[in-house]
């Protein structure tokens, strides 16, 4: 059970290996890596800066992880989220879930990334060639994705 909030990049292979090392009770590991995506010209993205709320970010990600563990039988779980200034193609976030059963791993992974988008206290400032600097609005589609896990 691990939550990391950091400026540095992370090694996806090493992170996933860490979930299963020395264990033989895990049937599947699901993961999602979110990346900084460029936009179509003329609105090319120069960089994206992620501001966050130190202290609350770690607390909120830990709460999300506890919620996933309460809902699905997970062997292990990992969330790494970066902050600071990132350029297109860079990794932002890793969510990984390990379980004896593939459905639990897949569903918990989707749940965590959907909820993280609407619950973790991050804000994105885009710098684009055409429009300069601009705070990214929250998306209604993210609220809908998170809402489907309520019930």
């Amino acid at each position: 059970m691990t939550v990391r909030v950091q400026a540095e990049d992370f090694d996806v292979g090493a992170a996933l290996d860490g979930l299963t090392a020395g264990r033989s009770d895990i049937g599947g590991v699901a993961s999602f890596v979110g990346l900084v995506r460029d936009m179509a010209p003329p609105d090319r993205l120069i960089a994206m800066t992620l501001e966050h709320y130190p202290g609350m970010t770690e607390a909120e990600l830990s709460r999300l992880e506890a919620e996933a563990r309460a809902r699905w039988p997970l062997s292990d779980c990992l969330i790494i989220h970066r902050h600071g200034r990132l350029t297109p193609g860079e990794r932002i976030v890793l969510v990984a879930t390990a379980s004896a059963h593939r459905t639990a791993a897949l569903e918990a992974c989707a749940f965590l990334i959907d909820w993280l988008k609407t619950q973790a206290p991050f804000w994105k400032l885009e710098e684009t060639e055409a429009a300069g600097r601009r705070w990214v609005d929250a998306k209604a589609s993210d609220d809908e994705a998170a809402a489907r896990w309520q019930g």
């Binding site: 709320y53 609350m56 989220h81 609407t118 619950q119 804000w123 705070w135």
Partner: protein, 83 residues
């Protein structure tokens, strides 16, 4: 009471955080926002649309009707965009 601002709220207020002394009539997140609006043009611009402002009390998401008390850490921010 400690109040923190993030993202464009921080930019409009011009502060990342401050200590405020609240009148006894201010007892909820929503009342705090209304009170802050009256503190100057920068606050008026930041809180022009209170309905888009989100809050956390002691690092837990909170609605505008959430009671607040001296010693609480209150954070005010736009809707989050993590991931």
């Amino acid at each position: 009471m400690r109040v923190l601002y993030f993202a464009w709220l921080r930019e409009r207020v011009g502060l990342a955080e401050e200590e405020v002394d609240l009148p006894p009539s201010v007892t909820s997140v929503g009342e705090l926002i209304a009170w802050l609006r009256g503190r100057g043009d920068n606050y008026a611009a930041a809180f022009a649309r209170p309905e888009v402002v989100r809050a956390a009390v002691n690092q837990v998401h909170a609605k505008h009707d959430r009671p607040i008390a001296p010693g609480d850490e209150i954070a005010l921010f736009p809707p989050v965009t993590g991931g």
